[in-house]
Symmetry: C2
Subunit: 311 residues, 2 copies
């Protein structure tokens, strides 16, 4: 935010405003859009320099100004920058709790904020801390440091799957062929969860979904996951039945239905939970989804196998 702005008033004329712009041209961050304030310094609109130059000099700013999109000084700068970019604003006025103008965010500062945020998001979504230097000149130790903690955390989470499999070790010993599908099942669960999380994270960023929409997102994702599960499960049933027999086909097919429903539901609400605890949805979601879906997916798989195969 910059405190160096130039504002004008609704009753000031275009000519007077233009004169003021000329006088103060060096003391302001930008002249291309001017916030309009009333006598209490409250923001009442915004006017583009182009409108001011185009108008008859006697026209009052009131007739030229537009409603101003603004941000509160207490909002996060990323939110303010996102709004500025979404609305394609050269200037986003920043106001206090009484809607008094306290500064401006120019489009170039907004772009800088968004670019930094996106580098971070993109790195964290892939499970690596953002680099501080260009990739090729980043030393080995920095690359390792940016990744090793996440890998260890994720590996620690994955030991949950080792424990789940240990619980079902006797089932595995009876039917070793069950282990053949473990990567396929875990992978499908992870993919389904990721798709849901990515879609909802983006919807959150665009403001299409809010924290309070948990129930609607859950309903949307549970149905989507179930439908995907029925399609994938159908295909899996057909293929696995042919190769490994009907019983096996049924186990794999039913597991797909249960797993996809669960994975999409968890994947969909995780970004909302993340934003509710003020964590970054991009960072928080994926590792939790994988860990949770991998472990519970295996439990579902073995329970269905035991029931269907009568073990």
């Amino acid at each position: 935010m910059s405190p160096e702005y130039l504002s004008t008033h609704p009753d000031t004329t275009a000519g007077q405003t233009l004169e003021r712009v000329r006088q103060r041209i060096d003391q302001t961050e930008t002249i291309y859009a001017l916030p309009v304030t009333d006598h209490d310094r409250k923001l009442v609109g915004i006017v583009g320099l182009r409108s001011v130059m185009k108008a008859d000099p006697d026209t009052p700013i009131r007739d030229l100004m537009n409603n101003a999109v603004s941000a509160r000084a207490t909002e996060s700068e990323e939110r303010a920058a996102r709004r500025s970019a979404d609305e394609r604003l050269i200037v986003l006025p920043i106001v206090d709790a009484e809607h008094r103008l306290v500064g401006i965010l120019t489009f170039d500062d907004a772009l800088q904020i968004l670019e930094d945020a996106e580098s971070e998001d993109s790195a964290r979504q892939g499970g690596a801390e953002p680099l501080r230097r260009p990739y090729l000149s980043t030393p080995l130790r920095s690359l390792v440091r940016s990744r090793v903690v996440w890998l260890l955390v994720l590996a620690l989470g994955a030991t949950l799957t080792v424990q789940v499999l240990e619980v079902f070790e006797s089932t595995l010993e009876q039917v070793v062929a069950l282990s053949l599908f473990v990567p396929l099942i875990i992978g499908t669960g992870g993919n389904t969860g990721n798709q849901a999380a990515t879609t909802v994270t983006r919807a959150l960023a665009l403001g299409d979904v809010r924290k309070r929409d948990v129930a609607r997102v859950l309903w949307q994702e549970a149905r989507t996951g179930f439908t995907l599960g029925v399609i994938l499960g159908g295909v899996a049933f057909a293929v696995a039945s042919l190769v490994y027999g009907m019983d096996f086909g049924l186990v794999i097919g039913l597991t797909m239905v249960a797993l996809c429903t669960m994975a999409a539901s968890v994947g969909g609400i995780m970004p909302l939970l993340a934003s509710a605890v003020r964590a970054d949805p991009a960072v928080f979601s994926n590792p939790f989804i994988s860990t949770f879906v991998d472990a519970t997916g295996l439990i579902v798989y073995f329970l269905i196998a035991r029931a269907v195969l009568g073990l």
Copy 2:
């Protein structure tokens, strides 16, 4: 790109330019930055309206203009938009092969292009096609359609792991405990590959890495992956040795070293290969990495297990 621009000449004065801006204020996309061209219409610089207004009216534009960053009309609009945003330009001049001005890209159009591209990238990285409507008003069938093809493709890829495990089924029957670590090993390979792919994809987007840097990226990632593998393998060796005995610890530890080296290398060069075949690195990389790393990771795991356990 907009063909409705206003340009000026190096020998025109600030006063004349301002007069021309006033006359043509309705016929141009923006007045806040003006490309400067010579008598052959070749782009020689750019001048901000602010500089023009600030200057003495007799100052020639030559003394006010800056070097112009520009884009070729033949470039992809996403590249041009990225450059405009990187340089925080209100106007990016677009030129032909002879460097003659043919149009401008305004910052608001650039933001629109980048936003669309980012929605696409973000959706595709998560393995879902971008939605055309706000999430909560997207019908179930559209959500399913945006995800089902990728899920089926990924599941088809994952059947490779079923085949690999079938090849080693006798080994699995001899030592069922080997199957306990399958999710952990696959997961670690996938995470390591994803980290590398995310880092390199971002470096490509920022222009820090180019297609011809394949060898340097491979070297950087192989070393990073090896180092990560030694750290993770060390931890895994220590933990697995305690619980399952030294032999098992050695199998898991050595697998981690080989797997991380391989996964980071593949993950690092995949975005470069994608961009070499003009595919979107964000879409192309992750599924290929998972499929490849999952299958080869299991092969490596079982070969090491056979060697160490003497099966």
